[in-house]
């Protein structure tokens, strides 16, 4: 086992999980002296009546200051400013985010503004700007998931510049994350699949990229195992509450992992594709994951190989020669995507050419690949990727991910940096 030269690990978020975990919310609010929380959610969650579960649990003990229920996917700077204005106007003293990654990122961004008493998020972008705790924030994920309920990062879109702005600080971590199986029971199969692949990607990139450490590794391995054991079962039985809870826990484990060890190529390209083409993050991750592993295999194949056990089980590991295990991991992921594609009636995409918009046209057009590569080149996640990439490398990966063909290993650049 390798101990890195230096690493840090931190996750002070209180994680409460259970089939009625939301019943603990009043006590959590009281503990942090929150009497007038603002609820932040989106129309999908509202329509599924999941917010009703939350309000029923807390309305006896607190006065809900305001419910903001129109957070868009990929929240932007103006959305965050609007939430902050609403918070101040209603004299709220805490935030409860009920939703997926977009809602949580918006809540985190708003928390930044109200706590720092600012109107402009731009000067807070990046890391190291926050010096003190923010207002209390509680997260109740309704997907499984982005892991945002436990991470120290938030991503807000700047539509003007077509970039996704990352914000990173341990103060962004919520006070508590409440994982309640009722919150994901109504999640449609394509969303269940995409968000689970998002969690899987977090875990895999946390384990295989440069900033890994022993503690985040263990969280990543457990996340992968829980996803392997429960994803297909949940897609075949939407009412499988235990499976839903397991996937929610997996997403949080993966969130803890990548929050403490960062991500790499898959996220760099995924962020860019989402910013340029509006493709949901989970779909980008599912498509790009095998390509990221392929691209990096000559550098970190020995790490990728270790993922075969949680991903496929001991029998497959025993049957696979050591030098083929990394390749087998990539094959397992491609087969997983294939299974998800079939179970969701082809709504889960295996490559970018299969992702269509409301107009029926391909959402990621070939003409945009160059621009996506430009944006990805500026993504900080690339710093943690085991192999270097230039613009042409990114175009190559995106082109293959678009058509669904494996990478030509002979065309992959092999840099000099050695990985232990």
């Amino acid at each position: 086992m390798h101990l890195p030269g230096y690493f840090e690990f931190c996750c002070p978020v209180q994680i409460i999980a259970g089939h009625r975990a939301i019943d603990n919310l009043p006590a959590l609010l009281k503990k942090r002296h929150v009497r007038k929380p603002m609820l932040v959610t989106d129309q999908g969650v509202l329509g599924a009546r999941l917010v009703d579960v939350v309000t029923a649990a807390i309305s006896q003990s607190v006065a809900i200051g305001q419910v903001v229920d129109d957070i868009p996917s990929d929240p932007d700077l103006e959305t965050v400013r609007r939430i902050a204005r609403c918070y101040r106007k209603n004299d709220c003293d805490g935030l409860v985010a009920v939703g997926g990654g977009s809602v949580m990122d918006a809540a985190k961004g708003a928390n930044l503004l109200v706590s720092e008493k600012k109107d402009d998020l731009l000067w807070l972008a990046g890391s190291g700007h926050l010096k003190r705790p923010l207002r209390p924030l509680f997260t109740i994920p309704t997907t499984a998931g982005t892991g945002s309920e436990v991470t120290q990062v938030a991503v807000i879109t700047d539509h003007d510049r077509h970039v996704k702005l990352p914000f990173a600080s341990r103060y962004l971590m919520p006070d508590a994350a409440v994982l309640d199986s009722r919150m994901t029971l109504t999640l449609p199969p394509p969303v269940t699949a995409a968000t689970a692949m998002d969690a899987l990607t977090h875990a895999i990139e946390a384990f295989t990229c440069l900033a890994k450490n022993p503690i985040s590794d263990a969280h990543a391995l457990f996340a992968i195992e829980l996803i392997r054991e429960n994803l297909i079962a949940v897609l075949n039985d939407a009412d499988d509450a235990k499976g839903r809870l397991a996937l929610a826990v997996a997403a949080s484990l993966a969130g803890v992992a990548f929050s403490n060890s960062m991500v790499g190529l898959v996220h760099a390209l995924g962020h860019a594709t989402g910013a340029v083409c509006g493709v949901p993050h989970g779909n980008c991750m599912a498509v790009l994951l095998p390509y990221g592993l392929e691209y990096n295999m000559h550098k970190n194949g020995h790490l990728t190989a270790q993922l075969l056990l949680p991903l496929a089980g001991p029998r497959i590991v025993a049957q696979t020669p050591t030098h083929l295990r990394a390749r087998q991991v990539i094959s397992v992921i491609r087969r997983m995507n294939q299974s998800l594609h079939r179970i969701t009636n082809r709504q889960h995409a295996r490559c970018f050419s299969e992702i269509t918009g409301a107009d029926g046209l391909c959402q990621v057009s070939i003409e945009k690949i160059d621009h996506i590569a430009d944006i990805a080149m500026r993504d900080g996640a690339l710093l943690y990727n085991p192999e270097e990439l230039d613009h042409d490398d990114l175009v190559m990966v995106m082109s293959n991910a678009w058509s669904g063909t494996p990478l030509d290993m002979g065309r992959i650049k092999k840099g000099k940096l050695q990985i232990r």
Partner: protein, 380 residues
Amino acid sequence: MYFSEDFSYQCPLKINCGSYALAGLPSELTAYDVNHPLILASHHQIGAKPVQTVVDAFRSSRMTVAMYDQISDQMEPSLLPMLLTLYQDGGCDSLIAIGGNAVVDAAKCLNVLVAVNARSKKIGTTPGEGGADALAPLFLVATPGGNGYEATHWANDPSGLLCAARLMPSVAFIDPVMMEGRQRDVVNGGLIGLAHAVEAFLDDAAGPLARAHAHTAISLMMHYLPMAIGGDEYPQSLSGVVCGQIVAGCAFSAASPGVCHTLANHLAAYTELPKGYLMALFLPHRLAETSRQDADQVGQLLYPMLGAQDFALTARTLQAPRAIAILWELYDALNQTLTVRIPIRLKKAGLTDDQLKKAQGQLMTASADNALVNIFSRAI
């Protein structure tokens, strides 16, 4: 993978581990908006050099530090009031504990005393912004003399045992420059950490996050403890052991005190053998007893102990016996170089037949848990 469908987990401790970790001490204090720490240490336990190393970390900062390095192994009743006066008169706003055991217990208890004292003076009463009952930041500089308890939410005070989530330190620094220790202390601390990690791993109610910490701790211990005793890559391997202890402490905080912990405490009155040695003695027997009900659960330990390949290639029915055998092999390997060896039986630990009978009798009276008695009997 089994996981509890109803759990709560929180670990507020931040771990900074590796070369030049101590260089980050001033900036971590700044992040908590404090700048006048009281450093607590035990000069006779760790010597002057490690204490000076910590003080030197503040040289280029503009912080002033207070220090008390005369803490003895047993906390005297007069210690805490004296430290409280030192803390308050010195205008301190945080604590740094170097090492483990009595030093960290003193730091945690002092922290409570400071908060209680502040509450009685109605200082800082704004709710939600660290009111009067909030504890000051406590920073831990880990050394091989610890055993993982320093990272938990437990503290021994003169009158009993305290337990509260807020007792956990804010940040733990594991720096190779602090890694010098006596062999017996290193092994004792390492074995306590290993036993805690294994018992937390087997505690289903603790939840998967505690289990992830336990998995990490077991892997670190199995890999680095033999190296540390054997003198291989000394600072690095000791850092691995200490990191494993700290992470085991995080897992242990979320789990119920395990069988080995309980039995070792029970026998403490009868022997001078270090607690870690006692816990290590009971551990294989505990696993054997547990595998009678759930061999798969014990077999899962093989994964952190040996890694993915060996776990996958071991037949399922052989995983639990192999995990137990690995422990015995570890003790054998350690005993090759230890001056005080890890006993494999209670009779070989220096306890007389009368003492064993008495201890067993007390156990049978006090405990309704047959498994506890069975494990004790196996270990005789």
